[in-house]
């Protein structure tokens, strides 16, 4: 069939001519090449006679035809008359239908499996079963079900006459706030499903339709999973159903266990798309790079990915920067444990955003005491909380897995160790963003009697962890209740675990300002430590905490003794972590500082700093605290320039790790004071302005620390010669001191002195 090129060319050229001119063209073009001319004429004749050849697509073979003929297009499903097909889904076909008996006007979507294989039928029954237990305004609900004329089951569900959520948002040009509000409604439906122990597993815009009234509804629970004990060990794969890559959580793509956090990821992708106009990893481009990014990288900062072609791109970038960035990244964390554990937790933070409160993903930083930051060991918060929820979370997911793990190990002790290690080793700052989930902890508490019945020691350790988390969250009453229960459960067994519970109780009392009680609890805990390596390590931790407590109450000599004892114990312990050692050193330095042994303190701080700096990013939080305390010392020693440098570094780290919090507020205030001492007035004014601005969200109105900040502002204003501003600020400080529950000696007097100086300055100025 390899015809010469000449024939092809002439054929093409002839086709461009009207039929009447072709004869003349062929004669002219072929000349006396009779073979060419015959072939060309044959081709052109064939061309004009071929009307239907290859124009009707081949039907499949007779067998398929016969089969198809037997399968009529359904016209009726029970009382429903089919109007049209809505499409083919993963399992079968979906039809739009209406009541055939005219009873009332209602359109429904009818779903039926394509082929009643056992596997498909089972899935189908499961979807129906799932829908039957879900009655919620944001979920398309089950209306009816039955079998058709051929005995194949079908069900009718609410027909949503809407469009996918992304298209809806685009059409209505929803702004950031409206998108968040819409996502909150979607979360309602998902939260409700989670409460019913159902994970959707395939959330994406085409399964989230928004009606003309703006109500979003979830559809297609076709691959949803009921979280039950019997499922925990079942394969988590989604059968033949192909995942939508962009919306599938990493653990889903790897075929690992699916939890409620899996849905959170998908919601995160949808929200990302709503807010930025693109999905996460869009920047990674197409092809292998994108796949790689999806599976292995954390997404880019959402505010940096806003589709520039959006009309309000700049406004969106601004609105996303900060809180929404953090919320989205927390929802999209590759590690499910770093993610919001459920739609409820995700929604709670979106509510925070919507109502202008700081988001939890921001990190809570409530660890500091008054003037200096007390350095302690391992207060497990964020990650521990998450780990705990993963184990006994109110969602029934992980507890099942945990129970299975234990059953497999056939020893409750194993599960115990697992949990305790998970919690004990978790450091809230290492990820930079502790996701706190206080609501979920509440639910976990409610589940304890059910989940941990008959395992008192495990229950004790878990209640301790929960109590500790409550303490960090300032839910002190709840914290005490949990810790008391834990102590009661462990009291008889005693030992290091009991000492740990006492340690947590001590921390709580300390936080509440009950220093004597805290000290007594530390003593008691020390008495319960065993004499082996583990007990000695525990004792070292306790002594270190005790040193910090002593320092906090001005008992520096005792602080020095405890810190020194702790360090000596560590010297003989195997595998002391460099971080623990450095933290210990810095408590020693703090005590030396308190005793006026400044040179020793400076050297100790510098040692500790050197040790921490070798640890890189994971120790940055400790470095930030240390630099802050070092700055105080340097200021005390009259090295104000050095103090400023230390504090600037501390502040940069604070911004990076914890964002806006009370620590940042206070640090900025002190930096402002030192700038002012150095005559750097503009920098001082800027720093105190920012500090007071942050104080509005991070300090309560009657906190003496807020008074201190106003006093600093007054002194700075005075130094700049602005008497009027100094008077306003000093009066504010005095008013706060008057209302404050506790007040350090000398504060009021200093503020009063500033006010007097400002008043006399004002008089001199007006006097002129």
């Amino acid at each position: 069939m390899a015809e010469p090129q000449r024939l092809h060319d002439l054929f093409d050229a002839a086709l461009d001519l009207p039929a009447t001119e072709r004869g003349a063209f062929v004669a002219r073009a072929c000349g006396d090449d009779a073979a060419l001319r015959a072939a060309l004429e044959r081709w052109l004749a064939a061309d004009s006679s071929l009307d239907t050849f290859l124009e009707i697509p081949p039907g499949l073979i007779a067998q398929a035809h016969a089969q198809a003929a037997a399968e009529e297009v359904p016209r009726r499903f029970g009382p429903w008359r089919v109007l049209r097909s809505l499409g083919v889904g993963g399992m079968g076909e979906v039809w739009l239908a209406e009541r055939a008996d005219g009873e009332y006007e209602q359109c429904v979507a009818i779903k039926q499996v394509a082929y009643p294989t056992p596997g498909l039928l089972q899935r189908f029954r499961q979807e129906r079963q799932i829908l039957a237990r879900l009655e919620h305004p944001n979920i398309a609900h089950l209306i009816d079900g039955g079998v058709d004329a051929r005995g194949t089951p079908y069900f009718a569900m609410e027909y949503v006459d809407g469009m996918p959520v992304t298209a809806f948002a685009r059409n209505r040009a929803l702004d950031v706030r409206a998108c968040v509000a819409l996502m909150l409604q979607i979360c309602e439906g998902v939260r409700y499903a989670h409460q019913n122990l159902i994970v959707h597993r395939d959330l994406k815009p085409s399964n989230i339709l928004v009606g003309t009234d703006g109500t979003p509804k979830l559809l297609d629970f076709g691959i949803a999973k009921i979280l039950e004990a019997s499922d925990a060990s079942a394969p988590t794969g989604t059968g033949q159903r192909l995942l939508t890559l962009d919306y599938a959580a990493p653990e889903q793509q790897r075929g690992e266990a699916v939890t409620t956090a899996t849905d959170v990821y998908a919601l995160g992708v949808v929200l990302h798309e709503l807010l930025t106009g693109v999905r996460p990893f869009a920047h990674a481009g197409e092809g292998a790079a994108r796949i790689h990014a999806l599976l292995r990288e954390e997404p880019a900062l959402p505010s940096a990915t806003v589709d520039a072609s959006l009309a309000d791109a700049a406004a969106r970038r601004r609105a996303l920067r900060g809180d929404l960035d953090r919320v989205l990244l927390a929802a999209l964390a590759r590690d499910p444990q770093q993610r919001y554990a459920s739609a409820e937790a995700f929604a709670a933070d979106l509510h925070n955003f919507a109502e202008g409160r700081p988001v939890a993903a921001l990190g809570q930083g409530k660890f500091y005491t008054l003037r200096k930051f007390v350095v302690r060991n391992r207060i497990a918060v964020g990650a521990a909380t998450v780990a705990m929820l993963a184990l006994i979370g109110g969602f029934g997911v992980a507890i099942v897995q945990a129970r299975h793990a234990r059953a497999a190990a056939e020893r409750a002790e194993r599960g115990n160790e697992f949990l305790v290690n998970l919690i004990g080793n978790a450091n809230p700052y290492y990820g930079g963003k502790p996701p706190l989930l206080v609501d979920a902890i509440d639910r976990a508490v409610a589940e304890i009697p059910l989940r941990l019945a008959g395992q008192p020691l495990l229950e004790a350790d878990i209640r301790r962890a929960i109590g500790q988390a409550y303490a960090v969250l300032n839910r002190n009453g709840d914290a005490r209740a949990q810790l008391d229960l834990a102590a009661a459960l462990r009291m008889h067994a005693g030992g290091n675990e009991y000492a740990q519970i006492l340690q947590s109780q001590a921390y709580l009392e300390w936080q509440l300002g009950r220093y004597d009680e805290a000290g007594a609890l530390y003593r008691q805990a020390l008495a319960h430590c065993t004499d082996d390596a583990r007990g000695r390590r525990q004792r070292a931790d306790l002594l270190n905490d005790e040193a910090a407590l002593f320092a906090d109450t001005g008992r520096y000599a005792e602080a020095l003794a405890s810190a020194g004892q702790s360090l000596r114990l560590r010297e003989n312990l195997p595998d002391v972590s460099p971080r623990e050692h450095a933290v210990n050193l810095s408590n020693l330095a703090n005590a030396q500082d308190g005793l006026g042994r400044f040179d020793e303190a400076l050297a100790t701080y510098q040692n500790a700093l050197g040790e921490l700096e070798t640890l890189g990013a994971p120790a940055e939080f400790d470095v930030a605290i240390l630099l802050n305390n070092l700055a105080y010392l340097q200021d005390e020693m009259g090295h104000t320039s050095a103090a400023v440098k230390s504090q600037e570094r501390a502040i940069a780290l604070n911004r990076k790790i914890l964002g806006v919090d009370q620590g940042l507020t206070i640090k900025l205030g002190n930096l402002a004071l030192w700038y002012s001492k150095l005559g750097r007035h503009d920098e001082a004014a800027a720093a105190i302005d920012e500090s007071l601005h942050l104080a509005a969200q991070t300090l309560s109105a009657d906190d003496q620390k807020l008074g201190n900040l106003h006093a600093v502002a007054a002194r700075i204003a005075l130094a700049q010669g602005d008497a009027a501003a100094a008077i306003v600020q000093a009066k504010e400080a005095l008013a706060i001191y008057a209302a404050a529950k506790t007040l350090e000696p000398g504060r009021r007097e200093k503020a009063q002195a500033t006010l007097d100086a400002a008043t006399s300055l004002a008089a001199r100025v007006t006097g002129k």
Binding site: I61, A62, A64, A114, L243, T244, R279, G287
Partner: protein, 187 residues
């Protein structure tokens, strides 16, 4: 599901032969399944393969912002899969006929096929042989026939997909038809 078709497409594009083979298996399975459903829907009428392939594409590739080359790649694979489905069935039909069973019935079917402009199973097998030769000698035309005839795409769609002018495609298509027709009907 440990592998995603999207990933396979990318891998196949990068020249991974195993990925191509697995991708083909996916497409083939999916198309067969969809063909069944569509036949059921159409009540046995002529199969609308365009819709079918589009459906398969939507189902398999989940096109979001996929690039054009991915789409073209997918459609040419889908068309190749359709060709194989049709030819497999034609082969089965011919074998069935040679086996002697249902001879009369099949003849009636064949007569119907001819009257309606469709190719009978034997004609399909010969078309396939001719296409095999095209695969070697004029691969561009072979792809075109697969896309137009077996996948049922319109020339406008193919033009869009391959980024060539519809006029060029039209000439190619007519030449392909003529050559194939003359191969199937030598005088």
């Amino acid at each position: 599901m440990s592998e995603s078709v999207t990933e396979l497409i990318y891998a196949a594009n990068d020249g991974n032969a195993e990925a191509l083979r697995r991708l083909f298996a996916h497409v083939y399975t999916e198309l067969k399944r969809l063909a069944h459903i569509q036949l059921a829907r159409a009540g046995g009428q002529t199969l609308n393969t365009t819709g079918l392939v589009h459906e398969a594409y939507l189902k398999l590739a989940q096109p979001g912002e996929r690039g054009l080359s991915d789409r073209e790649h997918f459609f040419s694979l889908a068309a190749r899969a359709m060709r194989q489905i049709v030819i497999d069935r034609a082969r089965a039909q011919v074998a069935d006929k040679r086996g002697g069973a249902r001879r009369e019935l099949v003849d009636i079917d064949a007569a119907f096929d001819v009257a309606s402009g469709e190719l009978g199973p034997e004609a399909l097998l010969r078309l396939n042989e001719a296409l095999d030769r095209f695969d070697r000698e004029e691969p561009r035309l072979a792809r075109l026939v697969e896309l137009r005839y077996f996948a049922g795409l319109g020339l406008d769609q193919i033009a869009n997909l391959q980024q060539v002018s519809e006029r060029t495609l039209n000439r190619d298509w007519r030449r392909a038809k003529v050559q194939l027709y003359l191969t199937l009907n030598p005088e």
